[in-house]
Subunit: 226 residues, 2 copies
DNA sequence: TCCCAGACTGAACAAGTGTTCAGTAGTTTG
DNA sequence: CAAACTACTGAACACTTGTTCAGTCTGGGA
């Protein structure tokens, strides 16, 4: 007699063919096991980092068995790849959504706001990813760099077409101003009295960055003196 | 019969009272076991991070036994504290060495050069530390912030005494420009054709930062047009 | 109806983790 | 000299890790 395999645990109905669209908005329990594992992993990786997150922790958070991770993703590394792909996809969508039409530099602030402000999970994960030494991290940064260059060209076109500083380094400086607070959030926040990524603070920071890029720290203040 | 305790392994002579000065320059084998463990830990923590470094790895790198880590530092966490203290001490010395006398903004470049350029180990370790969520990391950042504020005040004094942008956020911007490349080195470097932290590149970057802070990206170029 | 593919499980595996412990070798102190 | 102290060790501890495996359950096609 088998040692009472007991009740069959919760099991989502098999729906191989059913490619769930807009699964992002669905409650977790409606997701495929595969998707639930990936979502749980995204959250835990963002909170604790990849190394510090065990397969068991992911499985438990998803309400599933650790063995299922291997079944679906081959290995823990495979799970990471799946999460990476998902996140890069979301970021790509966010970047694509704010193309063109907006005001000068407004789009830059919009990128920050949409990508970093809204979703703390995405923020944490991005922080982790940007600090690794993997090929995908460098690729992600390259995409961000290209975006900064485009933004910079538009800004330069409106400002007189001439870059006074170091043209090669300018996009990196731009990215440092945007990504710095993201990366340094854990150490910056204790030195501030407001949440760094609430909308008001983010808008103010964005304006300050715009001002710095245009006129430096000592240029004309945003409110004209006359 | 004991299982042949074999030859006594290498053992540095006991010298409790001998507080070794300038141990930094001494070859590793002349160091106390305690110091050798700490140095090995600094290197490995900087290269792989704290979590990813095992006590055994540190001990092996130091040519000692893992149990000695506990003997000297109480625990792996104790070892980390010792390394932290050592690094903070070195940074503090570097910061103290370049007080006052220098040219405007030159000291800022000097800080970067001395702290970040010279010692890749210190760079790596600082990167790791700044991205943790510990009290000591926040404290370190607070010290850096204070330094930036001082530098900013001097700069403002020479520039007309008025900050055009956001006075509260300005020191953070300054730090983002300095620390950004440090934190993003792993993802930035693949997008560049020169080593980010060799002296020439570092000097150029420092000049670009100075230019940006003074006049923005589109202000007068460093070489006067006349 | 039977059968199969796939989702999913608990139990176990080998390997690695931080830490403990009894004990050895050398130096200092009495 | 003996005792105390310190640096240091190898072997083992209990625990966690990623992964494997045999097997159960379910839905759909034949």
């Amino acid at each position: 007699m088998p040692p009472s395999p007991a009740v069959a645990p919760f099991r989502a109905p098999t729906r191989r063919w059913h490619t769930v669209s807009c699964m992002r908005a669905m409650p977790a329990s409606d997701l495929t096991g595969r998707a639930r594992l990936r979502e749980a992993a995204l959250r835990l990786f963002a909170e604790r980092g990849f190394e510090a997150t065990s397969v068991r922790a992911v499985a438990t958070a998803a309400g599933l068995s650790p063995a299922l991770v291997v079944h679906h993703f081959g290995s823990k590394e495979g799970l990471r790849a799946a999460v990476d792909a998902e996140v890069l996809d979301r970021i790509g969508t966010a970047l694509r959504d704010i193309d063109g039409t907006e005001e000068l530099m407004v789009s830059l602030g919009a990128v920050s706001a949409r990508m970093f402000g809204a979703d703390p999970l995405l923020r944490g994960y991005l922080r982790r990813v940007l600090l690794e030494e993997s090929a995908s991290s460098a690729a992600l940064f390259a995409r961000l760099l290209a975006g900064a260059q485009i933004e910079l060209d538009r800004l330069a076109g409106a400002e007189g077409g001439r870059i006074g500083g170091d043209p090669q380094w300018a996009p990196f400086q731009m990215l440092c101003l945007i990504l710095g607070p993201l990366l340094l959030e854990p150490v910056m926040q204790p030195n501030l009295d407001q949440p760094m990524f609430n909308p008001q603070v983010l808008a103010r920071r964005s304006a300050a960055n715009q001002q710095l890029l245009r006129h430096g720290l000592f240029g004309p203040p945003p409110t004209a003196p006359g």
